[in-house]
Symmetry: C3
Subunit: 266 residues, 3 copies
């Protein structure tokens, strides 16, 4: 079975099984990522207290760690939840938001990569390059440039850390060190709304909750999210406020058949 057929089946599984996705994420996108989780057919839960994260992740089907507005106490909660997820074989998705912009973000990302077995890292080229030891510039949470191409950064990161990595950009690059994919779904409007990268994390997590191969889950999540972005852009013109609403509409309406028609994976 080819990967397009598999990710279409995975999307149908998400809508049928409604997996619980536990996010420990940043304050800027909590609502938006929770809504994206719901729109793709999964259930969102946000819980960050060290007193409850281990118990909460125990009833979840995937865990998302996002350091966008990190504090030391939150990183501690992420480690606790991540280790418990590892014990239970629940996939962990990490978004190293702003790695490369400050030492705290770079070091916290590395600490999580060392102390938790991460299934999939999802970030932009600058963040992932920084963590792979490739020169790059990150301006806040924006990738300004890197000294290697995204597919090359992805391969080197995946080999170094032994996990799947998904770099989003004009063309998304996914690698698990052995396999590579380029996903050319998406639209420039996705860069005009805050938190679309963070939304892509939870969509990838929903795929990982029903798909045992992290590489396929990353491809499926990014293709589905990118396809929704294209549909939303067509509905909203050059208007970011309208696009934000249409993105939810498109995620909610996306089904396996439509994903099969639209997915562009090479």
């Amino acid at each position: 079975m080819n990967i397009i057929q598999t990710i279409c089946d995975d999307l149908a599984s998400i809508r049928e099984r409604k997996p619980l996705i536990h996010s420990i994420t940043n304050f800027v996108v909590m609502n938006e990522t929770a809504n994206a989780t719901l729109c793709i057919g999964a259930l969102p839960i946000m819980a960050h207290a060290v007193e409850e994260v281990e118990e909460m992740v125990g009833i979840a089907s995937a865990l998302v760690l996002n350091i966008g507005t990190l504090e030391p106490e939150w990183i501690k909660a992420m480690e606790l939840a991540g280790r418990r997820a590892n014990e239970l074989n629940i996939p962990v998705i990490l978004d190293p938001v702003g790695a490369g912009a400050t030492r705290l973000r770079t070091e916290s990302s590395k600490r999580l990569l060392e102390n938790v077995k991460i299934s999939i890292v999802r970030g932009n080229a600058g963040e992932v390059a920084t963590l792979a030891g490739i020169a790059a510039e990150v301006k806040g949470v924006e990738s300004i440039g890197a000294s290697a191409a995204p597919d090359e950064i992805a391969k080197r990161f995946a080999s170094a850390y032994g996990c799947t990595v998904a770099i989003t950009g004009a063309v998304d690059a996914v690698s698990d060190g052995k396999r590579s994919a380029a996903i050319s779904n998406g639209d420039v409007m996705l860069s005009k709304v805050v938190g679309t990268g963070c939304m892509s994390n939870v969509i990838v997590a929903a795929f990982a909750a029903v798909e045992s191969d992290p590489f396929t889950a990353a491809v499926g999540g990014l293709a589905a999210f990118g396809a929704a972005g294209e549909i939303a852009a067509a509905e909203s013109g050059n208007k970011p406020g309208t696009f934000a609403s249409e993105l939810y509409n498109a995620l909610y309406a996306l089904d396996a058949e439509k994903l099969g028609e639209m997915a562009r994976v090479d």
Copy 2:
């Protein structure tokens, strides 16, 4: 005067008096509940620091406690604010988000119910059943099922805790232990957007700010919110992003006359 007439008068009072609603709530829905508060005609304030909650609640007309992304320090602030509200006879609305999903949530809810005189508890069937000692399943913040019907859960909870309880679902059930009401306003689209339960809390709180009978306030808040949900659903089709915007439009436009026509309370 029947209850429909009373809640219509209450809605008119909210719009005239613009009561300040103090929320100590979760990170996911702060913006959305603040906007819902404003749309129904009240004024929102979010303040959670232990250093100011007692002073802030002193200028408010109702207090909402919502444990959706709880931490011990926030529960402490909720207790301080709740006790001060009790001293000042300001109604307190509690949403025990995720009670039943983790021990921290169940125990924090019970602690608030013990240490603060709550006017109205608003939750889903699983959360309220858990606190009433009735077997139920809560998946994150989603009620999966309970071993009793909502109206029965409501009656038992209200009797056990001596307060009004409002369980939202396909049909909402309100009870104060003596009186019961079923509100059949609402639309399934309300379950497709994150935080609509939390929004219903602040609408109930706005009613409680102008209505001395908690049972009537709970009925009024849920009927008004459900009516707005129906109007928004009719405007937005099966599109959750569009529905979210239309829900604010509908709350803002709802007036006493429209509420009187639409309220379905048995």
Copy 3:
């Protein structure tokens, strides 16, 4: 060159240079202010940990401090970031949200004004009056009234603190103690959506990032934001949910030519 021409050039500079705006702000509006930052052509970053704020502000072009959901630890981070910004000559914009409503808010605002050199204070009449020692009433975060007119409050505040101040309301008043301006852009719909005052902060900050004169930056930011509000109101009727989306659309589409036609500065 008159001020209208200057602010039009500044808007073009923002869109060309994409300055990074570092906000330490409240939980209610983080997403909305980040989106407003992006729509005007700048880049948003939210970071509040004391461990990273000094480093993060070092790569930013303006810093926004907003005490809307303050805690002592956050005020400490604001002071650290503010002092570092001062060392680097990065402009600092302060929004004293709710000053006058509680002692914590009034005192934290004063402490920031004492310990950090603020370029521009942006608030409502009640908040600014309180800090200027003029009798006023603040109900949560809403200005209920003050014993002086906004332009008089602005002049007295600016003289007392030696910085530019921008009071938003039906007509906005800007003063740096020597110069005064009244900006009559805007629409009443801006008061029907939560966080529009906070959005105006980041728009002012984007202007301050490219414009060395704080008075001109404040005028430019408020005129641009007000103009966008007018365009959005015309597109959305009396509907706050629709208006919120249209406000992003309008900010995104606003260019120097349109701002030049619409700005009303006296």
